[in-house]
Assembly symmetry: C2
Homo-oligomer: 217 residues x 2
């Protein structure tokens, strides 16, 4: 396997392969043809073969792909076997949803703390992880070697929070705010989630379909 | 302006242009050079000029772009001036966060109802929109001409809910579940939000950086 040769668009598809392969495995499906995998992936058999050839090609002529072997290999490429220490900042609705529902340990992370500045919820737990006072966030990160932070705070609080975290050695971010972290920290590794951008994209796509109806009338 | 010529990747960037232009306007900035806009967009001046030329080119040599004119034009292309009637299904943490924080009216939608099956929260309001009983969802959508649904429910409930909605004429979805709507309804317009895929992508990117350190040691 030569990682250098894997294109960005293949990488973006890998979590989806992983998710579908996990579901197949849960249904005790042991092997799958590239055609069937393509149907699940909303892709073509030749695209699937091309994607999977990037890292060795797990297919066997006339057999298809081994579901567990392929899933394990993709997990390894994504680094899901890692346990990067992470904290979640902001136990509002989004933060709580994420802390409660995502299986961090299956996605390369270990959630070691949740931070909020609402004194009333301090000491409570979400999925057995304690909510602690934001005032102690820098010290906690230094003491525990925290590498990543999931930012679920208002934008107004983001700049100062990221500064505190960065000074404490936290340089990887899952960013739900609209604060542009890379502008201040070009070396940071950031994955942004802009829900409003996604909603606008939906609006565009609806609009496009509605307009095509109009033109056909 | 010829919409047919606008590529998918330009479309994906439009919400970001719109977001940054809105911020500039809020700061009373009236014009901007392609270089400065490129810096904000983490792009190049030539990419920005190429993007914006797709729909008429609002730049003037030696002047730059008019922030309000460009923002308005992008809003029109995205269809943000529309008011597609939408409901939100599932008033858990994610649903509540979305209903409470997103400015639907600025993104082409009008949120006309929220639905949940938890009897204890029925009749409550989020942002002046009432939480109603999921049992009445089909009738409500038919009566009110609802076009879109934002699905913030568990995957186990998704298939049946989408069937009910589709039968009631709701065919556009913002889908936070892992249920593959297009598999059952190829005509549906769907924008999926897979938070776990995004977290896995972050893991991959951290892993990539960590590995490059190892190789340099």
């Amino acid at each position: 396997m030569n990682k250098e040769n894997i294109s960005k668009s293949v990488i973006r598809r890998l979590p989806r392969y992983y998710r579908f392969l996990t579901e197949l495995e849960e249904q005790d499906i042991d092997k799958i043809s590239s055609g069937k995998l393509a149907a699940i992936m909303r892709s073509t058999a030749s695209q699937v073969r091309q994607d999977l050839n990037c890292f060795g090609g797990f297919g066997h002529q006339g057999y298809g792909y081994s579901v567990p072997a392929l899933r394990d290999e993709i997990a390894k490429i994504l680094g899901l076997n890692k346990r990067y220490k992470a904290i979640l900042v902001g136990a509002g609705h989004i933060g709580t949803a994420i802390a409660a529902h995502l299986r961090f340990d299956m996605m390369g992370f270990q959630l070691v703390g949740i931070f909020d500045n609402n004194k009333e919820i301090l000491g409570a737990h979400i999925n057995r992880v304690e909510i602690m006072d934001s005032e102690n966030i820098g010290q906690f990160c230094r003491d525990n070697g925290v590498q990543a932070a999931f930012l679920c705070i208002p934008r107004s609080a983001a700049k100062q929070t990221v500064k505190t975290l960065y000074d404490a050695g936290v340089t990887r971010f899952w960013n739900f705010t609209h604060y542009y972290i890379q502008g201040d920290y070009p070396e940071a590794v950031v994955e942004n989630v802009h829900l409003s951008d996604m909603l606008m994209t939906l609006c565009y796509r609806i609009n496009e379909v509605e307009n095509s109806y109009d033109e056909n009338e």
